[in-house]
């Protein structure tokens, strides 16, 4: 039996209780398939549960490789979940929905324009004033007569569910900063790769033209003064719930992803800080809620927005999408009046009804809600009151105290759709998020969407939404004339924050790589000598372990070698550990996600699988295996950077790598070579140092296997032909720093580099290795001094290239009033 047949048999079986069976998205009440599925049937019917499970596994892997995350508020980012079975709608069902959604966006726009303008809806009594005045999304700073922004709604979303009759109803409108379109696109990308045949057969609308139209809309929305408008995507940062969605949208559209601290207000306009210059920003696709967008006129103390943004918007010098006041449209208190508003504003009947909603500010509605609390969901009109844990008595009390702040909404049965879970394929409740864009002068719904299913473990999962074409010749998205996106690579927003993240990306990548090599070298030595501590090899192992301890804090005695190795690879709280470097590397990568190739994330899925294996298998050789696997992952980042544009961001990655390599090398040499321990031990230590610095082969070629400290130091310090040497690193740093737009040849970082080079050129290796007793004081002094200078150089790069402005604060913070 195939999965779909099993499912079909199960859902058409009469239920014991004889209760109403919800509308099923795949199976009609007579047991046959719904029209959309009939068109897919051949390919779809043949899928067995095992097939689906394999596809589910592929999906998980693809999503992990792409680094797709979703963050449940107050948790660490978790994986984005996608069910293999799509939600399928045929053209006949979609057509009226599309008309209804377009009308709805048109209506919402008309409401927005009225509420922030003439307010005829309020003065004429069509809409009770308290619905609007009590809503947090109604921004009086945007409702001034002077406000230059005509506030059109450019991108809205609607959440839909089916009623008992199977008709779609709008559950909620999203206009503030609708999220999910990036996830919808990613879902499609993954599904088309894991089920290519089914996808090809289906004849569904591709999503790309919608993105192209969105891009055109944003560019066209720029204020008139801008011939080449600069559009940015404003994100609240990597901690945001939908950070992935934001970065995906930014990079797909080819607009830089910025944060509030990257922008600044001047001359009544918004600017981006780039290399100490200010570049004008014309359009902001806002993913920060309006309340947090301006600490001057909106929420005091917010650092997510741009202080003064409301003023810039009022002057018309920047266009914010959606307008700051658009949040008022998310008010469920509008729903009971939507039909009347539609008649008044558009002079036509409302086509797509909302879920039945009662605003309790109306006396009769309040009476109804109070009498029917069992069958209704009570919500506050702007989510400003948390009602989740209140019983009916408390709800009645709250509603009676401030009736205008609440609505009661009918609970729809919603529909069900087959969903893969660990026990099989079962029906789960599904809702649909749709997106509507203003393109030219009309509203165009995305032909597709993002479906959400609640799984048995209460973690939401998503589904791709397949809207089938009526005829194979129909243009995708009904948009035949949209120009394809030509090279939409995001013009890098080389703001100080981004440069800083790039620099640390380089440093952490190098730090992880160097530590991995050191661990691999030490582990190999441990396999040979752990039981022979009194041999030269055993002593050399102890030296290596103390070097590791110096770089990562020593927490383990020599007898706990394996625990030590494991913690170096797995303990993200151990400073200098591989796990910590990779975690920090990932954070840095996430905040510049729009600038990096999607391949970046495969590196992390490698390292994650290696960590998972190491946690599961407790054999000693698993340490080496996992470390090697991690190294493969981290090294693949070299490939990612090799293919980057040679822009300042890339230069900062390279400079960061070179600084870190230099620092790691000096620390390693200082921990291993500044003390003399006897010929045999020194030879073993030196050999290990060469291995850990990836210079063993070169050394063998050059010195014919004769390992002496002078040779090692020549190769690692002064030999500019060895890419792992200090000299080569300094040279790299000089090249990259010199190419930075702010460099003059005499900036502080450049001068520090001159000093570093100078010192290296004057080094006399023979003098450096001179012995006094057991120690090599000259070498020790040189390395210690060099570490200090490299650190000062790194700090100077930060001061010169990453310095943003200070954190904004309110007038009279920490004030003493006289």
């Amino acid at each position: 039996m195939t999965a779909l047949r099993d499912y079909s048999a199960a859902v058409t079986q009469p239920t014991l209780g004889g209760g109403a069976v919800p509308y099923d998205e795949v199976v009609a009440p007579d047991g046959g398939l719904r029209p959309g599925w009939r068109m897919l049937a051949e390919g779809a019917i043949q899928l067995t549960e095992a097939d689906l499970r394999r596809v589910g596994g592929d999906i998980e892997r693809f999503l992990a490789n792409d680094g797709v995350t979703y963050t449940v508020p107050e948790h660490d980012p978790g994986p984005w979940r996608l069910d293999p079975v799509p939600l399928v709608l045929d053209a006949a069902e979609w057509a009226p929905l599309e008309v209804g959604l377009a009308q709805r966006a048109e209506l919402l726009n008309a409401i927005l324009v009225d509420l922030y303008g003439p307010q005829r809806l309020l003065s004429s009594g069509v809409l009770p004033p308290a619905v609007v005045f009590a809503h947090e999304g109604f921004l009086r700073v945007s409702a001034r007569a002077s406000a230059g922004d005509p506030h059109p709604l450019l991108l809205s979303a609607a959440d839909l569910g089916r009623n008992a009759a199977g008709e779609w109803r709008v559950l909620a409108d999203r206009a503030q900063a609708p999220s999910g379109i990036g996830y919808a696109m990613e879902n499609r990308r993954v599904i088309s790769r894991v089920m290519p045949e089914l996808y090809r057969q289906a004849g569904l609308h591709r999503m790309a033209p919608f993105f192209q139209a969105l891009r055109a809309t944003l560019i066209d929305s720029a204020p008139e003064h801008a011939p080449n408008p600069r559009v940015v995507v404003l994100s609240p940062g990597t901690l945001s719930e939908t950070a992935y969605d934001q970065a995906f949208v930014a990079s797909s559209l080819g607009f830089p992803l910025v944060e509030g601290s990257d922008l600044v207000m001047r001359d009544g306009a918004v600017w981006m800080r780039v290399f100490g210059r200010l570049e004008r920003v014309d359009v902001i696709l806002r993913r920060v809620d309006a309340a947090w967008s301006d600490s001057l006129e909106l929420r005091k103390g917010s650092q997510l927005g741009v202080a003064g943004l409301s003023e810039a918007v009022r002057r018309g010098s920047v266009r914010v999408v959606n307008g700051l006041g658009a949040g008022v449209l998310e008010n469920p208190g509008l729903l009971p009046y939507l039909s009347a508003m539609c008649e008044q504003l558009l002079d036509e009947p409302l086509r797509l009804p909302s879920v039945q909603t009662y605003w309790t500010g109306d006396e009769r509605s309040m009476a109804y809600v109070l009498d029917h609390l069992d069958g209704l969901a009570v919500r506050s009109i702007d989510q400003s009151v948390d009602l989740e844990h209140h019983g009916p008595d408390r709800l009645r009390e709250l509603i009676r105290a401030e009736p205008h702040r609440y609505v009661g909404q009918e609970l729809l049965p919603l529909s069900q759709s087959p969903t893969l879970d660990p026990r099989g394929v079962h029906p789960q409740t599904v809702t649909l998020r749709t997106f509507t864009l203003r393109y030219g002068s009309t509203y165009r719904p995305l032909v597709g969407g993002l479906a959400t299913v609640m799984t048995d473990d209460r973690v939401p999962s998503s589904k791709d939404v397949w809207v089938l074409k009526a005829s194979p010749d129909d243009p995708d998205q009904g948009l035949p004339d949209v120009l394809p996106l030509t090279d939409v690579r995001a013009p890098a927003a080389m703001v100080p924050r981004v440069l800083e993240d790039m620099f640390w990306f380089g440093r952490y990548a190098e730090r992880a790589e160097d530590m991995l090599r050191l661990v691999l070298t030490a582990h190999a030595s441990a396999e040979d000598f752990r039981s022979r501590p009194h041999t030269a090899g055993g002593a050399s192992l102890a030296v290596l372990m103390s070097a590791i301890g110096r770089l990562s804090g020593s927490r383990h005695g020599t007898e706990q070698l394996d625990e030590n190795f494991r913690s170096l690879l797995l303990d993200a709280h151990r400073p200098g550990s591989v796990a910590q470097s990779i975690s920090a590397l990932r954070d840095a990568a996430q905040s510049v996600r729009d600038q990096l190739s999607p391949d970046t994330w495969q590196a992390f899925s490698w390292t994650e699988r290696a960590s998972a294996h190491l946690s599961t298998y407790h054999y000693s050789h698993q340490v080496a295996e996992s470390a090697a696997q991690m190294l493969t992952g981290v090294l693949s980042l070299q490939g990612v950077t090799a293919n980057m544009m040679r822009d300042p961001g890339w230069r900062m990655i390279c400079a960061g790598r070179a600084v870190e390599r230099g620092l790691q090398l000096c620390h390693l040499l200082s921990a291993t070579t500044t003390v003399r321990r006897g010929i045999d031990i020194d030879r073993d230590v030196n050999t290990a140092v060469l291995a850990a610095t990836e210079s063993a082969v070169t050394h063998r070629r050059r010195y014919r296997g004769y390992v002496r400290l002078t040779g090692v130091l020549e190769l690692l310090l002064t030999d500019a032909d060895n890419p792992r040497s200090l000299a080569s690193g300094i040279d790299e740093m000089r090249q990259h720093l010199a190419a930075m737009p702010e460099s003059t040849g005499s900036t502080r970082p450049e001068r520090l580099l001159d000093d570093l080079l100078d010192e290296l050129e004057r080094v006399d290796i023979a003098a450096l290795t001179a012995i006094e007793g057991e120690r090599r004081p000259h070498l020790d002094r040189f390395l210690t001094g060099y570490i200090g200078q490299l650190t000062r150089f790194a700090d100077a790069v930060g001061e010169m290239h990453f310095a943003g402005s200070p954190v904004p604060r309110s007038f009279g913070f920490a004030t003493v009033t006289e």
Partner: protein, 292 residues
């Protein structure tokens, strides 16, 4: 009466401020009973950007941005204002208070706008205590004018004027706890009490000309900013009451701006970019009668 109002706000910081963005509500409104003959607002150091606009409620909002590094920011507003005592329609004041609630008056053209001031706002939380306190003065059918004046009397009698009792973050519940506050608190208290019964009440910010004790000279700069409340009276505009001084607003009051509460119309607010760790605020207000 005619006054020359001078209001200086000075922020001093212990380190350079690279950027100050500010909004000021310091220009008095033009009203039926108030004429602003002259006015000037000066920010020092000189702002790169300095504009004036009418806000949603018709108040003059001044926006400015200073971009040269500074340790002292000085905002000086000087205006020359002629004020008469507002007139009230005695008949309208006799309206039963229940019928002075905008929700009950769809027959009046300005009722829908007044509604904005009948709802809770963040600094005038409608606590059950505030509701109960006002209920004592709102017997069924009582004339609105009488009821409002009684609430004003009671607040004046029951709450002590105490500058040390409250801060800018004081809530209505705090004021009830301490039974004390300053003019801004008493205005918020009035808002919370009357709004919780459905009346529309505005927060008004401005100045009150002080009279020196008999035989003493006026002391320049000893005045302060002031705040009071105004209640919507159907068909007769707004009745302004000053619970701090237990009197109806008269020709000694200069009206600057109104809103839902202090948060809508602070005299000066802003955002600075600085590494400074402390700041000092000094406010000097002088309301001098002008003769002739």
């Amino acid at each position: 009466m005619r006054y020359r109002v001078s209001h200086r706000t000075t922020y001093s910081y212990d380190d350079d401020v690279s950027d100050s963005l500010g909004i000021a509500y310091l220009v008095p409104r033009e009203l039926a009973w108030q004429h602003v003959a002259e006015r000037a607002l000066t920010v020092t150091p000189q702002p790169l950007d300095h504009t004036e606009d009418l806000d949603y409620y018709g108040n003059t909002a001044t926006y400015f941005q200073v971009t040269e590094p500074h340790r002292v920011l000085d905002v000086l507003a000087v205006s020359d204002v002629e004020v008469q005592a507002p007139q009230h329609d005695e008949h309208a004041l006799l309206t039963p208070w229940e019928d002075a609630r905008p929700a009950r008056r769809p027959d009046l053209a300005d009722a829908w706008q007044a509604h904005d001031f009948a709802l809770a706002s963040s600094l005038a939380d409608q606590t059950p205590q505030a509701h109960a306190y006002a209920a004592q003065s709102l017997a069924p059918g009582r004339p609105v004018g009488e009821a409002v004046v009684e609430v004003m009397h009671r607040i004046h009698a029951d709450f002590a004027y105490d500058k040390t009792a409250t801060t800018v973050t004081t809530t209505v519940a705090d004021i009830f706890d301490k039974r004390a506050g300053v003019c801004q608190d008493f205005a918020h208290l009035t808002l919370a009490c009357l709004r919780s019964h459905g009346l529309a009440v505005r927060y008004v910010s401005g100045y009150l000309a002080t009279t020196p004790p008999p035989g003493k000279e006026r002391i320049v700069g000893a005045d302060a900013t002031h705040a009071w409340a105004a209640v919507w009276i159907p068909g007769s505009g707004w009745l302004a009451v000053d619970p701090t001084n237990d009197q109806l607003v008269n020709d000694r009051y200069v009206t600057v701006a109104w809103g839902r509460d202090y948060g809508d119309v602070p005299p000066v607010k802003g955002v600075i970019f600085t590494e400074a760790t402390s700041s000092t605020l000094r406010v000097e207000v002088d309301v001098a009668p002008v003769t002739g």
